[in-house]
């Protein structure tokens, strides 16, 4: 299994080097509108982008839709693709949005490209972690030293998350309880970000719904790990006059929600801006070629491609950094919530 993962990883690495990212930029150029459709390339799609020679570059994903028909009865329809849904006669295409001929969609459970990448990265994270835990069970890294580049690399990340992120921010005996969750988050986000760097791939984290889901999970973990003191600080701040408490309590309650909100927006905006930047800079080639002829396009491409290579290196760093920051901030917030204050003991110390 370890061999298989390594082979897959090497194949992906080879793919990422040997193919260019240009296909992402001209994918939607058949429409007569702008030369480069920036938002179209970063948005979620109902197809899985693949190299052009396979099925014209698009593998369509299934649509699963709960909808209400004209009589108000809830129906469930499943189609293998958007085209099949339109062919069935129940749905029609209104401005590239699938709408029932009569009735409304109540819940769209369709599988989209970002969801596929989400699952894929989670699968990768699980496979990698399970493979590694099997090695540790066999004694590598426990009785004898870790063997192979892969396990050593894994251990660097794992020990870093455990010691520098979790144990440094969550106090004492509680810390190790949160290592599995935080490491899963780190691996998942890191894989999602790194998958986004592959050609034809979509960055799942450049989608607010994905990051918001992660942030909501973090929100619940933070709140459920809250100690009695945490809730006291939220609802009835100790040691301040009551009129000030009336102001503090709403602010504190608001603070509970802004933290995960900031987590979601930070990750989303970072990944989105990186992607938009690369597409825009590569798009300059096509815009210049469109305005001033092919020669200008070639001229600009020298500048654009160089800049893109630099940006790509930066994005690889940012992919890991953002995963780290999401994990770190979640750990800090958990640490803040789980912290137990010792007012009484301090008072006793002063009295003595």
């Amino acid at each position: 299994m370890f061999q298989t993962i390594r082979r897959l990883f090497l194949t992906l690495l080879f793919l990422s080097i040997s193919t260019s990212h240009l296909f992402a930029a001209d994918a939607d150029s058949e429409s007569e509108e702008p030369v480069i459709d920036v938002m179209g390339t970063v948005a979620d799609h109902d197809y899985f982008k693949v190299p052009k020679f396979i099925n014209g570059g698009k593998l369509y994903l299934p649509r699963l839709i709960f909808w209400e028909d004209a009589e108000g009865a809830t129906q469930f329809s499943a189609f293998s693709s958007t085209k099949k849904a339109i062919e069935s006669g129940l749905f029609e295409d209104v401005d590239h949005v699938l709408t029932p001929v009569s009735g409304v969609i109540t819940l769209d459970m369709s599988i989209t490209s970002h969801l596929v990448y989400f699952w894929m990265s989670m699968l990768f994270a699980v496979l990698l972690t399970v493979a590694m835990s099997n090695r540790y069970k066999k004694g590598f890294g426990r009785d004898v030293e870790p063997k192979g580049a892969f396990q050593n690399l894994f251990e660097v990340f794992f020990v870093f998350i455990r010691d520098e992120v979790v144990r440094a921010n969550i106090e004492g005996h509680k810390a190790d309880k949160y290592v599995p969750y935080l490491f899963t988050v780190f691996m998942g986000i890191a894989f999602m970000n790194l998958f986004g760097l592959l050609p034809w791939a979509a960055t799942a984290t450049a989608d607010l719904t994905v990051t918001a889901t992660l942030a909501v999970i973090s929100f619940f973990v933070i709140q459920f790990s809250g100690s009695k003191d945490h809730w006291e600080h939220v609802f009835w701040f100790p040691g301040v006059p009551t009129p000030i408490r009336l102001i503090l309590t709403p602010v504190e309650i608001l603070g509970l929600f802004t933290k995960p909100f900031a987590l979601a927006i930070r990750l989303f905006a970072n990944m989105l801006s990186g992607k938009i930047m690369i597409i825009s800079i590569l798009g300059l080639i096509f815009i210049f070629a469109d305005f001033f002829g092919t020669v200008a396009g070639y001229g600009v491409s020298a500048f654009s491609v160089t800049l893109t290579v630099v940006l790509y290196a930066l994005k690889t760093f940012v992919a890991l950094l953002q995963a780290y920051i999401f994990t770190l901030l979640t750990a800090v917030f958990i640490g803040m919530a789980a912290e137990e204050h010792h007012h009484e003991e301090h008072a006793a110390d002063h009295a003595a």
């Binding site: 440094a168 900031a262 989303f268 905006a269 970072n270 801006s273 920051i325 770190l328």
Partner: protein, 72 residues
């Protein structure tokens, strides 16, 4: 109008975030120079604070993006 607002807004956000992160960088390098043995802790605190500033800046960036697409 929305485009203009988004452009000006993004510029102001860049100024604010730039000043903020620059000040963190200045303070961090100064403290590392003063006390090199604490560089690990300082770096951690630096990244954390920078992340907070970046978060605020990105809120505004998202508002600018919203202005471009829905500001009319």
């Amino acid at each position: 109008m929305g485009l203009l607002a988004a452009g000006i807004g993004a510029g102001i956000v860049a100024i604010g975030a730039g000043i903020g992160i620059g000040m963190i960088g200045k303070a961090a390098t100064e403290s590392i120079a003063r006390q090199p043995e604490a560089s690990g802790d300082i770096r951690g605190a630096m990244i954390l604070t920078a992340a907070f500033i970046e978060g605020v800046a990105l809120f505004c960036a998202v508002i600018c993006i919203l202005l471009v697409f829905f500001g009319g």
